[in-house]
């Protein structure tokens, strides 16, 4: 442990840094807690594993059409952005937003909205659950 | 004491304010039984006599008499608490039944706290006067302050007694 700066201005600076650090710790801990809760809820709701999602997003081309937070290169402009999906009332303006509907929509969008441009990608049910878990956890 | 006096006065004002709004007073209750409250009042008034003596002895720095006086006043501090325990049921109402019950209990509680505080102070002073710290000008000053405080406790009770027991009978 090194000694503290002796000069008054040094101590004042230290104090200021500590205050900023404390505020940062406060905000960071709060955000971490919220994310933790959100992720836990998303997992239990969907029964999917968000860890597997990034790879699936790329494989099925989701990231080519959608902007998806946290997925590298996912800045597609064809479909609607998928930010804050858990807050939405309807999925694609058609389906009530709940985990079953989201999974069903990802697997076969045409069966709910015949005119939609979103393709049936051939994704499996479990993979779709992983995606749903990821999207709800954001 | 000015602070507490204002507090007591305000509690009486609240009592009268609530009364002025009520269609009938007391609200859904019989007027309080007089026995416990009146004997407590009599006891408090009577306790002023030894209290005034105690104050005089303390001024004269008479250790022996002050010791006796403090013991007497300790007992006279405990007795009203026993009577007070009978006063709460004599009100025929509980604090959570209506606003009348609330203010009555709060007034009684407020005054009981003061009796209790003074009693504890008296007890501590009694111990002190029997210890090596006793024979000392400052302690005698404390005793007369304490006696003064008891006067205050008794005197403030009189308007509260009138308010609690006789106003509902008007």
């Amino acid at each position: 442990m090194s000694d503290l700066p002796a000069s008054p201005s040094g101590r004042a600076a230290l104090m200021a840094v500590a205050l900023v650090a404390a505020s940062a710790a406060f905000v960071a801990a709060n955000v971490a807690r919220d994310n933790h809760t959100q992720a836990a809820v998303a997992k239990t709701m969907t029964g999917g594993d968000p860890e597997r999602a990034p790879e699936i997003f790329r494989r099925y081309g989701c990231s080519g059409c959608h902007t998806i937070p946290g997925i590298p290169g996912a800045d597609g402009q064809t479909g609607a952005p998928l930010t804050g999906l858990s807050k939405r009332v309807y999925i694609a303006g058609v389906l009530e937003n709940n985990s079953d509907n989201l999974v069903a929509w990802i697997v076969s969008p045409r069966s709910f909205s015949p005119q939609t441009a979103m393709p049936a990608t051939g994704i499996s049910q479990q993979e779709a659950k992983d995606l749903a878990a990821y999207l709800y956890a954001q | 004491m000015l602070i507490e006096g204002t507090g007591f006065a305000l509690s009486i004002v609240v009592y009268l304010y609530l009364m002025s709004l009520a269609p009938s007073w007391p609200l859904n209750a019989a007027p309080p039984d007089l026995l416990a409250g009146t004997s407590l009042t009599a006891l408090l008034v009577a306790s002023l006599v030894p209290n005034l003596f105690l104050a005089r002895w303390a001024r004269n720095q008479n250790l022996l008499k002050v010791r006796v006086g403090l013991i007497v006043m300790s007992l006279l501090g405990i007795a009203p608490l026993i009577l007070r325990a009978f006063e709460f049921p004599a009100m025929h109402i509980k604090w959570d039944q209506n606003a009348y019950g609330s203010i009555v209990w709060v007034m009684l509680g407020l005054h009981t706290t003061h009796i209790l505080t003074d009693l504890i102070e008296t007890l501590v002073l009694t111990c002190l006067m029997f210890s090596r710290h006793g024979d000392n000008g400052r302690r005698f000053g404390d005793v007369s302050d304490n006696a003064m405080y008891w006067n205050f406790v008794v005197v403030t009770w009189l308007p509260m007694y009138a308010c609690l027991y006789w106003v509902p009978r008007l």
């Binding site: 442990m1 101590r11 801990a29 937003n97 709940n98 | -």
Partner: protein, 205 residues
């Protein structure tokens, strides 16, 4: 050189040590408060609400398990003061008092006497409200949203609880009929505990 710095480190100025301790305390308490902070949720995410419908009930309709997301949320309908007091408002808005009065019961069973026909678990109460029960309890499935049902259930559980909850709402600005929820009316009024079999109140479990 080396020895010098060692002795310097050994003789840390107590004031500095104190200051360092204070600063660390400041930063760590920032973190602790941040973690403990839980904002009041005025709007739950729609998928989360919809998930509340997916609890599992035992065959006999008594007891079961809530959806797992309920635990992930921290059992908010039992412990969160805002939800409990919303539940209390729903209790009067949806006319529960018509049958259950202030919790003492009337046409419907009492909540205060410690006797729960279907058990005191949240899922049982939620199921009773949502789906109704034989002998007169109507289903509120089409009258309330599932989130409201959970809020109401949390409140109902609170009235009948023998250990008053810290987060429980207090009295209403109404006529006083029984001790308020935060004082544990069940405990005050029925201290002797569960009141035995109520043959008149539907099937006993």
């Amino acid at each position: 050189m080396g020895t010098e710095s060692v002795t310097e480190k050994a003789n840390v100025n107590p004031a500095s040590a104190l200051m360092v301790a204070g600063l660390l305390l400041l930063i760590s308490s920032g973190g602790v408060f941040g973690w403990l902070r839980q904002a009041r949720e005025l709007r739950l995410d729609p998928p989360g609400v919809s998930d509340l419908d997916r609890f599992r009930l035992m065959q006999n309709g008594i007891s079961g398990t809530p959806p797992e997301s309920y635990f992930a949320l921290g059992k908010v309908y039992e412990s969160d003061a805002y939800n409990l007091s919303q539940g209390k408002r729903l209790y009067s808005w949806f006319g529960c008092a018509a049958c259950h009065a202030d919790g003492r019961g009337g046409i419907g069973p009492s909540f205060l006497d410690g006797w729960w026909l279907y058990g005191p678990e949240m899922v049982s109460i939620v199921a009773s409200i949502r789906d109704g029960r034989p002998h007169g309890m109507p289903a509120f499935r089409d009258k309330m949203t599932i989130e409201q049902i959970w809020q109401l259930a949390g409140y109902v559980q609170t009235i009948g609880s023998y250990t008053p909850k810290v987060a429980a709402p207090s009295r209403n600005d109404d006529k006083h009929t029984r001790p308020a929820e935060n004082r544990g009316p069940a405990k005050i009024l029925f201290d002797e505990g569960p009141a035995g079999v109520h043959a008149d109140q539907g099937p006993s479990p």
